[in-house]
Amino acid sequence: MMRVYWLEARTEFLKLARMRSYSLSTILFPLMFYCFFGLAMAPHEGTTPMARYLIATYGAFAIMGSTLYAFGVGIAVERGLGWLEVKRSSPMPLGAYFLAKGAVAMAFGAIVILMLFAMGAVFGHVRMAPAQWLLTFGALVAGAIPFCVLGLTIGSLAGPNSAPATVNMIYMPMAFCGGLWIPFDFLPKAIQQAAPLLPSYHLAQIALAIQNAPVQGTVGGHAAALVAFGLIFLGTAWVAQSRGREKMYG
């Protein structure tokens, strides 16, 4: 039985790793943006709070990308073009399909976060206590879960062709408005006020709290908000999936 879960995850990993559209957007986007905003524009002398701030928020950006693309685009394509039906009519445990997707998307995100950490430490003068590095990493990877569920919702609603655009239209603005690209305090007031409506904001605030950066609210409050978002997305996805099954067939 364990073998099914292992093989499902291995297959999902190989599928995504060989798919350039996925591996490039997942790895390149966060690293490239970090180079532009985090390295090129940051001051170069010594450790600054800014450097630490950006390593946390670009980590959140990375984990959002790997999960939203894997779930949002992956499920929209596999559902819309018939592959999910092949899987569902086989004895595959349905949980294996979603768990494999989640584990692999988080693994990809984790790899990109480690790359970011390496870049930050080497080029960005980011210095933190080992426990802080570890906690930041752990919080970001665990924070992937609500974004997996958001991806599941997108994948359940979007068509196979429109899914990549849909994901980008949610991913990019959500990252910007959540304070992942440029520090939250530099954002316009209106965006700052609306940000608590975005899960990206809450994940970033948790990662920032670990850095001892100034944050709004408490870690517990942000974690609760992420759980709430996860549940709302899960409910939406569930409704969308059960509705999608009753399409008309000849």
Binding site: V4, R10, L14, L81, G82, V86, M92, K247
Partner: protein
Amino acid sequence: MPVAELQNVRKKYGAVTALHGIDLGIERGELLAVLGPNGAGKTTAVRILLGLTEQTSGRAAIFGHGPASHAAKLRRGAMLQVARVPETIRVREHIELFSSYYRAPLKFEQTIAAAGLGGVEKRLFGELSGGQKQRVLFALAICGNPDLLFLDEPTVGLDVEARRGMWKHIRGFVAGGGSVLLTTHYLDEADALADRIAVIDGGRIIAQGTPAEIKRLGTSPAGSGSGGLEDAFLSLIRQNGNSIEEVLQ
């Protein structure tokens, strides 16, 4: 007892009735072909038997189990029409994964041989020809060593040679004692493979019998055909009240 059956199954999608109470049974070791024009209800019937959608009323069973149950899934395989299969996975990886879903799957080499995939095991799915792709889907349907196989238009879009190749593998499965439900648009395919044919139109089964019986049933007095299955099919559908244009679409 039939290995799979539908008893008085009705299926409504909102106001539209796709199946008006059909009865259908597949006996052990037989290949039943379901023929019908587009929109006749073939795919709906197959989807109910695969547990992908639920009937509005009536009974559906696979080896006495509910079609969506794990017990039913373990004993059947299905080859569905699928527009895109993950392309960056190798043939061997696809087959190993699907084999792991079953309790007593075929050995990898047996699956490869039964689907005629020798030599392409290491290719990515996206690098295969159309015929090879269909044979991979066939391999995924039989790799669990099922007793019952569902083939939904298995040779659609294939050239003659690839179609004949697929027929050979389907016959191989039946020769091994398996039962098959085949839906197809190609009447020569039904003629060549089926022990029994069910003609479905407008959500009803309008004729059932061996290929020879269907040809006899469908021979209309004014028929100008040569007595082939195609003429019989057209004549049956016409008697059922469809215009020839609808049928040929």
